[in-house]
Symmetry: C2
Subunit: 312 residues, 2 copies
């Protein structure tokens, strides 16, 4: 199984378009220790030919442009010039940074979109997503805690299995006060994914997580590879830096540091490889020369970057 990190940043990316904080200024200046990051999305393939996306970041066009593996190099087997190797997308939630990239995937390309019922309802309630031609895009519901073989629009298997599991989360920002779709934390609207191939390779993808739970511990224990929510270092970071008015918990993100944070919480689980994704511009560990980066490295974690490749 091949995995490519298309983007490793949190909502807004790094640098964020409107942010004048010191971290964003360093990234903008091309500082090598403050590497730019687009918003979090992964590409996964069993055969290196047909690809699954985990989340569709708003930067997806730019991400495809930076990733030759995802570009159409020749007409497809039917002779069509619309020939992307991207065959399916699985969405772990309804936030803009997870779904807006679907709007890049228009132009009559056969595609399978996998998501929870709640996220599918949200897509259906927003007519702009109808720009994906229903004649060639198939929306498929993912049920929780059930391993499901993935296939492309035409039903050809991708050689990958996905299983969604509930993660403590929150409703998307834009759906917080609306009546049309009530997304909650108990129905599995924020999910994690376990992706496996037929050779026994397997990893977990949890880009948003508001709290650790017994069920999550059990799911992640002894696993080969976990991509986990690395949004914030501390819960009050956005407020303290003058960047926002909300705590991490209010935004649906557990902190990396602290007694009840991710580093401490996942430490006993004997995970072979631990990689932070969805890293916010405000999180000091995004800087390769920061003391916080030294701490996560010492604790056996990696911080994902755009273009990072992992073979399992």
């Amino acid at each position: 199984m091949r995995i490519v990190v298309l983007g490793a940043g949190a909502g807004g990316g790094f640098p964020q378009w409107n942010c004048a904080c010191p971290n964003c200024a360093r990234a903008r200046a091309g500082d090598r220790a403050a590497r730019k990051r687009t918003q979090t999305s992964l590409a996964v393939s069993a055969d290196g030919m047909a690809w699954l996306l985990l989340n569709a970041a708003p930067d997806l066009r730019e991400q495809i442009s930076a990733t030759p593996l995802l570009q159409p190099l020749a007409p497809d087997t039917q002779g069509s010039l619309r020939a992307s190797p991207i065959r399916a997308v699985a969405l772990s939630g309804g936030d803009v940074d997870a779904i807006a990239g679907l709007l890049h995937l228009r132009e009559s390309q056969p595609l399978a979109v996998y998501a929870s019922r709640r996220v599918l309802t949200l897509l259906a309630a927003n007519s702009i997503f109808r720009v994906l031609n229903p004649a060639c895009v198939s929306y498929r519901e993912i049920l929780l805690d059930r391993a499901e073989p993935l296939s492309d629009f035409a039903g050809r298997p991708l050689g990958l299995t996905i299983e969604a599991f509930a993660v403590p989360g929150k409703v998307p920002l834009y759906a917080e006060e609306e009546g049309e779709v009530k997304l909650g934390t108990t129905e599995g609207d924020t999910v994690g994914f376990t992706v496996s191939d037929e050779a026994g390779a397997s990893f977990h993808f949890v880009p948003a997580c508001a709290a650790l739970s017994e069920a999550l511990h059990a799911r992640l224990r002894d696993s080969q590879l976990v991509f986990f929510d690395g949004t914030l270092w501390t819960d009050d970071e956005m407020i303290r830096l003058g960047l926002g008015t909300k705590t991490g918990r209010r935004m649906g993100h557990l902190s990396v540091s602290g007694d009840d944070g991710t580093l401490a919480g996942l430490a006993p689980l004997r995970i072979a490889r631990k990689v932070f994704v969805h890293v916010n511009n405000s999180n000091p560990m995004i800087l390769e020369d920061s003391p916080e980066r030294a701490i996560v490295t010492r604790k056996g974690w990696e911080v994902a970057y755009d273009g990072m490749e992992i073979a399992l």
Copy 2:
């Protein structure tokens, strides 16, 4: 007045994410005569400090990243670290390639969004756009044929005036078959903009146009600068190249060539500077070494490219 072309491509950009046509292959290979283009959006400023965007392309985050003028270089005058020099956006239609970039402009940045009533209704009907915090984003209706001074969220003037005018067009693709908002061609849902500064500089922006009309001729005659729809070279181009099933007219775009095309139609109007924008990957004039490019150049037209700057 300063104008920066942030993107000059049509929907999907150049190369298009899923297209294996020879033009896209050349762009992907880095061929200098097949320059890459993101989707069409312009930035305009009277003072070089506060900027107006004309349309918000899905590539807007990448476009800002490529344009230092649009980056926040220091905290704003109130000391806020959310300090983008982008103060306002005007939308000429509801198509994905004109509006999806609004989703990049989240993160609590004060902003004024100008659009026709129909486009505002479409934004309101799609809950995903609520991600722009209503506490700092002001939606303002533009009426047709009425010059309106532009101001930022706080009401500070930008030193620019905008006037919208009706252009023969079509409904956005995703709204073609829906009931919620009936966008038509007669109510001015596809508009062009005339932007003027206080020193008498003025230009027109018409990124989508399905046909020329007497009213349009009158509007464009004797003008200093026109940015015009350069989507397709011939009406059946997409079909002939095996890239689609629709004619240009069906997609709301007049062709560049032909007796009833743009080159012929605008020739008598004595426009000082004529620039094609919204150029599709299928249009041979996108290639700098094509006979079609030679024709448009000989007829006094330029083909816009990302990063093109014009001072008026």
